[in-house]
């Protein structure tokens, strides 16, 4: 997907507003010792896990926002709060002008939620039955239902398995059906938690295209979480990174790369199998006489690196490209883990 394929910069109102939201879970600590376990029955040791700390977030109508973070960073807690499943300890959440928890019935009629590991489909019934169930439960007018059914069927290619039993679908088909189901009531916001989990490459591409088309054609605001960063980069114009419950980065991917180093890959082919020594670049691996290095494009130029290589050996071929976003994010997570604390990022990154 090209840069131009991404969602347009929103110009209208904010549909999601999160102000100073914190959420702490209390976790009972366990010991492998019997004596400690017995003591814990009466005087348990409680550890407080700060899932979210003073989170502030605003998302405009029509945006696609990637919501990312390492395991346990607080992604699912945020999605659950925004979906009206749990309450924050403090702070304010307004989505579409409503409090998701207190105005749940009205609110959930205007959003769609898809969890990659959970299905809203009825396993022992054909896919069509779940769609009809949704029509009645969501009280969707027949003409809108027919229109949306046609829309999702076409975009997601549901016809081929619409009358099959849900339990007989492949994972990709099931996810497509779940996405279609989530859209029948024309939600204004779609929360997608790991929507491509376990999908093969083709199914993943179809799902991503669908989300993009949906955003473009119907201006649905999408907030999605995923561990697949390249997927997020293809899809979202904006990435929100959280670390240990705190907002660590909020901006676009270009800025993310810039803030955390313009990490690039250099591939050099020489007559020798021994890699050249390059100052300012980190050797990664060699495949025969093809050597791979990583360097920070903001710190050192390709010309400088090539000068060093030419001084040592003949250069047969050279190639350079940006490091995959997954590597960039992995580096960021690694730095965060190494810092063992909060506030490891420069303030301007937030």
């Amino acid at each position: 997907m090209s840069e131009s394929g991404r969602n347009a910069t929103p110009t209208s109102d904010f549909v999601i507003e999160v102000k100073g939201v914190s959420k702490t879970f209390r976790q009972r600590q366990r010991s492998e010792k019997l004596l400690d376990a017995a003591r814990g029955l009466f005087r348990p040791t409680i550890r407080e896990v700060h899932a979210l700390i003073d989170l502030n977030l605003q998302i405009a109508r029509g945006e696609i926002v990637a919501y990312a973070g390492a395991n346990g960073a607080g992604k699912s807690t945020t999605v659950k709060i925004l979906s009206g499943m749990i309450a924050p300890d403090s702070g304010e959440v307004r989505v579409l002008g409503m409090n998701p928890l207190r105005e749940r019935v009205r609110y959930v009629g205007r959003i769609g939620v898809v969890f990659g590991q959970r299905s809203e489909l009825w396993g022992d019934n054909p896919v069509a039955a779940s769609f009809e169930w949704k029509r009645v439960l969501w009280d969707i007018p027949r003409d809108r239902y027919d229109f949306m059914l046609g829309f999702v069927k076409e975009l997601l290619g549901l016809d081929e398995f619409f009358n099959s039993l849900v339990r007989e679908l492949s994972l990709g088909q099931r996810m497509r059906a779940d996405l279609g189901l989530a859209l029948l009531h024309e939600p204004e916001i779609l929360f997608l938690d790991e929507p491509t989990l376990g999908l093969d490459v083709l199914a993943k591409r179809n799902v991503l295209r669908f989300i993009q088309d949906l955003n473009r054609e119907r201006r649905v605001t999408v907030m999605l979480t995923s561990h697949d960063m390249s997927e997020l980069e293809q899809l979202a114009g904006r990435i929100v990174l959280i670390n240990k419950g705190e907002l660590a980065f909020d901006g676009d991917f270009t800025r993310l790369r810039r803030e955390f180093g313009e990490r690039r890959v250099l591939l050099v082919e020489t007559p020798d199998e021994k890699p050249p020594q390059i100052e300012g670049a980190k050797f990664v691996q060699s495949e025969g006489n093809r050597h791979e290095f990583l360097f920070d494009g903001g710190q050192v130029s390709i010309a400088e690196l090539m000068e060093q290589v030419s001084a040592q050996t003949q250069v047969l071929d050279v190639e350079t490209h940006r490091a995959p976003i997954d590597d960039v994010i992995a580096d960021i997570y690694e730095k965060w883990q190494a810092s063992k604390g909060r506030g490891a990022l420069p303030e301007n990154a937030k």
Binding site: F25, T77, K80, S83, G84, M85, I86, A87, D89, L101, E103, R104, V105, R106, Y107, V108, G109, V113, Q117, R118, S119, E120, L121, W122, G123, D124, N125, P126, A129, E132, W133, V136, L137, W138, D139, L165, V166, R167
Partner: protein, 285 residues
């Protein structure tokens, strides 16, 4: 209830029952084999569950102060209560601890309707409930001609009220215990199965002759006495007290209030902690 009227939600409930009934029928009609196997196995299971008491009643021409046909009526009544539970609150609504313990309650929370309405409609599966309901009705029909009862409209009305009350008590008991799964999802996941088993196993026993403490606890604490024994004593005029018809409905109100409080408190806890685990086992598949 949001901004919609009560009438809207009542209509909505009927529409949902119709959808669930159709989906339920679709499941069983996947193939003739599935359909036959399901109906036969469920009928055998339900008949077997009351057979012990039935044989005892036949052998001794009744049990205690209960005649053979009164026992037959009692068994029928208990089976109809079971059948109503299966018909209206199947699909792990009656076994609520499973839904809560497995983290499946989140699915209910993202439905744009009151939670109560979801719980009152989603478990409707008449096709699966019939094999339990029909043997119960058959037992009552068999017993009635042999019982010296004046089957007036008033009697039938009280019969209906007591049936609903007994069903409400079972449901309330399930929800009161099952709500513990809000706090201990893993440990209490199967709590509803145990409490239901208790009800099913003890519902057919006439409790006359038990000491006050034991009988009281089987009515007020573990309400197995309210499932069939207490209402049948009134309906069959074994109890001579004129107010006996209303014991079970009053108990139903009490248990429903208690269960509502327990569930509400659990729900508040859920708001704070959510579900820390998720298993799709038994959920819509």
């Amino acid at each position: 209830m949001g901004d919609k009227s009560l009438l809207h939600w009542i209509r909505h409930a009927f529409r949902l029952w119709a959808v669930y009934a159709r989906m339920d029928a679709l499941v069983i009609m996947r193939s003739l084999g599935t359909m036959a196997t399901w109906i036969i196995s469920d009928t055998v299971l339900n008949v077997a569950s009351i057979m012990g008491m039935l044989l005892l009643a036949q052998r001794f021409d009744g049990i205690g102060m209960w005649s053979k046909y009164q026992v037959l009526f009692l068994l029928g009544y208990g089976s109809v209560v079971d059948g109503l539970m299966t018909t209206f609150f199947g699909y792990n609504v009656a076994f609520i601890s499973r839904r809560l313990g497995r983290g499946q309650f989140d699915h209910t929370l993202i439905q744009p309707q009151p939670i109560l309405l979801s719980l009152m409609t989603e478990g409707f599966n008449p096709t699966f409930g019939l094999p339990t309901l029909i043997p119960g009705i058959a037992l009552i029909v068999l017993a009635l001609p042999h019982l010296a009862l004046s089957l007036s409209a008033g009697w039938w009305l009280l019969f209906g009220v007591n049936l609903i009350a007994s069903t409400a008590i079972v449901l309330a008991f399930q929800f009161a215990w099952g709500s513990l799964a809000f706090r201990a999802p893993r440990a209490a996941e199967e709590l509803s199965s145990s409490s239901m088993q208790l009800i099913v196993q003890l519902k057919a026993f006439p409790l006359d002759g038990l000491g006050g403490l034991l009988a009281g606890s089987l009515i007020f604490a573990l309400p197995v006495g309210c499932v069939a024994w207490l209402p049948c004593r009134a309906l069959l005029s074994i109890s001579k007290e004129s107010f006996a018809f209303w014991y079970t409905p009053l108990m139903a109100i009490g248990f429903t209030v208690f269960a509502t409080v327990m569930f509400w408190k659990g729900l508040k806890h859920y708001e704070r902690v959510g579900a820390q685990r998720y298993s799709n086992f038994g959920f819509r598949n």
